[in-house]
């Protein structure tokens, strides 16, 4: 998580004004550190933020969607660079998150595709335990 967001607890930046002081403080902190994050352009549909952007050194460079969206630009912002944040997961965890959640869904679909006749013999290998015998899933009390 970015420190600008965790410090103020402002929620999402796209709706900062609805989070009161915390949301606006988080937004200002984020704009203040635009250079750190390679934040070169901001797309704004709400004119509420125009005065903040004007005084913070951003200037409108274009309008989109029938002038309802303003594109703001900041000069001197270097291209974004990878951040060496402590929360950054290692490469192997990235692979896991990319493979296992999606892969488990694929496996579940494949299991459903196995014909029922093939699954029945597997279930038959585990007959119900008689009274007094230990069976799978039971515990000795």
């Amino acid at each position: 998580m970015l420190p600008e967001l965790t410090r103020y607890g402002g929620g999402t930046l796209t709706s900062s004004k609805y989070f009161g002081t915390a949301g606006l403080d988080a937004l200002r902190a984020m704009l203040m550190h635009a250079d750190h994050y390679g934040l070169k352009w901001v797309f704004v549909r709400d004119r509420y933020y125009d005065s903040l952007l004007t005084f913070a050194g951003w200037r409108p460079v274009d309008h989109l969607d029938d002038d309802t969206i303003t594109v703001w630009s900041k000069d001197g912002v270097p291209p974004a660079q990878p951040l060496n944040a402590p929360q950054m997961p290692p490469h192997w965890q990235g692979l896991m998150w990319g493979i296992f959640p999606f892969g488990s869904s694929i496996v579940a679909l494949l299991v459903l595709l196995i014909p029922e006749k093939r699954r029945q013999p597997v279930e038959a290998r585990y007959p119900a335990a008689r009274d007094g015998e230990l069976g799978l899933g039971r515990m000795v009390s």
Binding site: L24, R28, M32, A34, R47, D50, A56, G57, R59, S73
Partner: protein
């Protein structure tokens, strides 16, 4: 799964459902004040049994934007309408206050007798550029067994009909074309120069102060970045001037800038690398904002006070006053600012009060004030 396990599961589900119903009923019948306030109910309002409580209730109602309830509770509501009351607080023209919300309210007793009292109410408005404080001294009168506030209503400024000729300079820029990259320019950037710079140690960290001059003959949109370099030549931190600068500089204009480096120590700094940026932009010398009655007030409560007057015919929605303070040798000692949270109407003075740190006040012998503005367009 045995029958006993099924029975235990059903019992647990039953307990959870029953507990949910009981808690929902309790929450509905006995809601907390904070929760009730958020739902638009009558929460956070206490009995107006004391002058402070009456003022606090009024502040809480303003905070909740319960304008009708706040207006109905005023002792002098016959003197103005509810719309005028709301306009008195939030402004009649679009400004920082228009879309601001009250973050919190403070009430201080000033004087009290059996029949009336004076209290000071401080409203802290959360606007898009930060918190702004608004102080109102309220007269509170006893009415029966409770107290009611007499609101110090300020009449709306009325600008007389008039024609204001506009003959100020304006610079237009013809760009390459509509298909250009955003913000890309083929022209040389305006020449700007840092004319003064000094790093100082403050309690919160290192602060870099200075002034930037547009020495070109065209307007420039400017900003300044500073990088602290350690004694081992390693970069300590890099920050920008953000809003502690006037970004639009007309030819030969000078702006102060202040760059903060929180949690850093000047003793660790070997050098400071300054990076001013400038871009050619279209600009106009209008609106002209006049600074009137600027005055340095000594410690305690050192401040720079004065008035700003909009000399143009357009409404200025937001004004940002930047004060530069110099010592007897002409070097920059401190830079401070204040946003005017009311719209500047033509020819109508608005006061400003910029706080100066107590420990620096004795070093200051002169000041220079400039105003940056934002206008959404439109006239009165």
């Amino acid at each position: 799964v045995s029958d006993s396990q099924v029975g235990k599961g059903a019992l647990l589900a039953g307990i959870l459902i029953a507990a949910t119903i009981v808690l929902a009923v309790l929450g509905t019948m006995f809601p907390s004040k904070a929760a009730l306030a958020y739902t638009g109910g009558q929460g956070l309002t206490n009995s107006s049994a004391t002058p402070q409580a009456a003022a606090q209730n009024l502040g809480d109602e303003i905070r909740a934007s319960a304008w009708q309830k706040a207006y109905d509770g005023l002792a002098n509501k016959a003197q103005f309408t509810e719309q005028e009351f709301e306009g008195d607080l939030k402004g009649y023209y679009p400004s920082l206050r228009t879309y601001a919300t009250v973050d919190h309210v403070e009430v201080f007793p000033l004087h009290a007798s059996d029949t009336d009292a004076d209290v000071r109410m401080k409203l802290y408005w959360s606007s898009v550029v930060g918190l702004s404080e608004n102080t109102r001294d309220l007269h509170v009168v006893r009415t029966g067994d409770h107290w009611e506030v007499e609101w110090p209503f300020t009449k709306k400024a009325v600008v007389p009909p008039q024609v204001i000729p506009v003959n100020y300079l304006r610079w237009d820029v013809i760009y390459r074309g509509a298909g250009d990259d955003w913000g890309a320019q083929d022209v040389e950037a305006p020449h700007v120069r840092i004319v003064d710079m000094r790093p100082v140690q403050r309690a919160e960290g290192v602060v870099v102060l200075g002034e930037l001059l547009n020495e070109d003959v065209v307007p420039a949109y400017v900003s300044v970045n500073a990088t602290l370099i350690g004694k081992n030549q390693q970069t300590i931190a890099s920050e920008g001037s953000f809003d502690k600068i006037s970004h639009l500089l007309l030819p030969k204009q000078v702006t102060p800038f202040l760059i903060s480096f929180p949690n850093t120590s000047l003793s660790d700094v070997g050098s400071v690398r300054m990076s001013p940026f400038s871009t050619l932009v279209p600009a106009s010398a209008d609106p002209v904002i006049e600074i009137d009655n600027a005055k340095l007030n000594p410690a305690p409560d050192a401040s720079l006070t004065g008035q700003v007057i909009n000399q143009s015919g357009q409404v200025v929605n937001v004004a940002h006053v930047l004060g530069t303070f110099y010592d007897s040798t002409g070097h920059v000692v401190w830079i401070a600012d204040e946003y005017i949270d009311h719209a500047l109407l033509p020819q109508t003075p608005e006061s400003f009060n910029i706080h100066i740190p107590e420990d620096l006040a004795h070093q200051i012998s002169s000041q220079r004030t400039i105003v940056a503005t934002y206008s959404a367009g439109g006239t009165v």
